[in-house]
Symmetry: C2
């Protein structure tokens, strides 16, 4: 058995980013810096974990944006010199907790660390999933992204059977679940996805979308107008920016925009620019922001609903829906930055390799 580590490598927040975050193993001016730091001794009811997988989420960009006051964020922002915050899956390698034995796989706020000390209360032990699915789906369909899709679409947006729905970021971790929930659980009459490549679009259509449009196509704006003839009841917005603006002109009277993310603006620092804002008024639209953590009390219930839907063939969840990138610890920020390149299909997950 390997000796218990007493220190860890960590990617810390060295400087607040301007635009696209940077990283370096040496340069003190980059956003993230690789350091070696001592691990504290375990207090009662704590565990020492080895980080296996990291969840990569667009929202993490907001946690390191100094222009957003801490009181206006839904989580504590990352402090300078602290490890970059991230959720992930880890293996317990030492424990003072009766509940969490060595060898248990837990999900929790592991951060960008190789090893870390977590409180028992912050760790959720994870059991195997049906169909032999990888545990990493606890960071996707069976985790916050799936909960986000359900809470946003059904509870916040009030989507109903027979409605026409558009989803941007449709090939992402949240978006692909929105497509499937809308079409196969809620019974929406038409579900149109928007994604960033023809390949992604075909994949989204394979999940049940009636159509998926590539926003990088030169004919995208015309394609969107054509696909939304008769207008749209619910727009699940994962991207913000110019697609949100276009959609304001394509909503039916009393339509609802579910504001889940605005990734298009996260690194540009550019404001959201709405030429069609007047139509929010004239068409009696509403834009509704939400945060899935408000719905955590229902996570177990929704998890069961998804398992049943999976068994009934109403959800397609497969390991192909994740993009698990084997990553040396030195490259953890590099993998995370793929989020903002529109490069990933499904949930982007970092698997830490040695």
């Amino acid at each position: 058995m390997a000796p218990t580590p007493t220190s860890t490598r960590s990617w810390i927040l060295a400087n607040y980013p301007h635009g696209v975050p940077t990283f370096s193993t040496a340069d003190d001016n980059s956003t993230f810096k690789l350091v070696e730091q001592a691990l504290p001794d375990l207090k009662p009811n704590q565990v020492l974990v080895k980080v296996l997988f990291l969840s990569n989420d667009p929202a993490q960009r907001g946690w390191i944006d100094p222009s957003i006051p801490a009181e206006r964020l839904y989580i504590k922002p990352v402090e300078l010199k602290a490890s970059m915050a991230a959720r992930g899956l880890a293996e317990v390698i030492a424990s003072t907790s009766d509940r969490l034995q060595i060898g248990t796989i837990v999900q929790g706020p592991v951060g960008w660390n190789e090893y870390g000390v977590l409180g028992e209360a912050d760790c959720t032990p994870r059991q195997p999933l049906p169909n032999g699915l990888s545990l990493t789906h606890y960071m996707g369909a069976f985790g916050i992204p799936g909960l986000t899709a359900y809470y946003g679409l059904v509870v916040v947006g009030g989507a109903k059977g027979g409605q026409k729905v558009v989803v941007s970021g449709a090939a992402g971790a949240v978006g692909n679940m929105v497509v499937q929930i809308a079409k196969n659980i809620v019974g929406c009459s038409e579900v149109i996805g928007i994604a960033g490549s023809d390949e992604k679009c075909r994949w989204v259509e394979s999940l049940g979308a009636d159509k998926c449009l590539n926003y990088k196509s030169p004919t995208f704006e015309d394609d969107l107008i054509k696909a939304t003839e008769g207008f749209v009841h619910v727009y699940f917005d994962n991207v913000g920016g110019s697609i949100l603006d276009l959609m304001l002109a394509r909503m039916a009277k009393n339509g609802v925009v579910i504001a889940c993310g605005s990734i298009s603006g996260y690194n540009s620092g550019k404001p959201t620019l709405l030429k069609n804002y007047f139509q929010l008024i004239s068409m009696r639209l509403s834009i509704r922001g939400f945060i899935a953590s408000d719905y955590l009390s229902k996570a177990q219930e929704i998890g069961k609903l998804f398992v049943q839907a999976l068994r009934d063939g109403k959800l397609k969840i497969s390991d192909e829906m994740e993009q698990v990138v084997a990553t040396n610890f030195e490259d953890v920020p590099r993998t995370w930055l793929k989020l903002f390149e529109g490069a990933n299909t499904g949930k982007l997950i970092t698997r830490i390799v040695e």
Copy 2:
């Protein structure tokens, strides 16, 4: 008795405006042009009216904006060569209607005409108001603006007793009613107005606002932050633009923005620019557009509620709350344009004089 007129002077929409609309009695290139046109003979159940008062409403700017497709407007847009659309009060001077006798004062879609022919169904005969108030209040507190204030604040926004409310355009026809309804009918704990001059602000405070801030003050942004310590549950937005953006950063968790107007952008053609859009998500805000005409079925009920509130001293409605501008017919567009100069306090009304 004067002979019944067979023609009328009218301000027609000669060209769609770019930026601030222009007007001329002669120039064919201006937005509005003064013309003389024949009046049609009365068909059954019609009236010939002499226009006495015109209602001036920011929303009229949207009715002549060619960039907004007709299907995305809540009223039929004004066609080129047609009289500019406007509601107003008029006196019946000839009638083929059993219901509307000569001499009756009616409210209806009179347009920018000296005389006009209206169908009986388009005319609402108007009875005297309590306290000897001028009939023009049927275009203000007892008309669409009052209904807009109530519907927006109470029904769409769901404002409740004990909440903190901010209202922009607080010295306008809708805004001053929002202030009074919030403070004296709904029982909000704190009501903060925003208006365009110190004089307007003092007037808004005299109506019951706890505070009113002048957005033209160099310290406005700091003043607003200070006045909204603890954050705001409901923002009634009559102006859009940069004040909307500022308010997104001042809303409490789950706060509601009631989107009633965006006058700041009507003539500039500038898009709405939101630097704080992310806070819509992080603070779970919603922005809700609405149009008061959806609530017309309740107009009588709300009118009664206002009359009772007036008697109970919970509403201050006086002729001072209107700005009635005696206007030669040649100057009808000039008076309307005052709306966009931030010059009017209370409802801006045109009284046509000869």
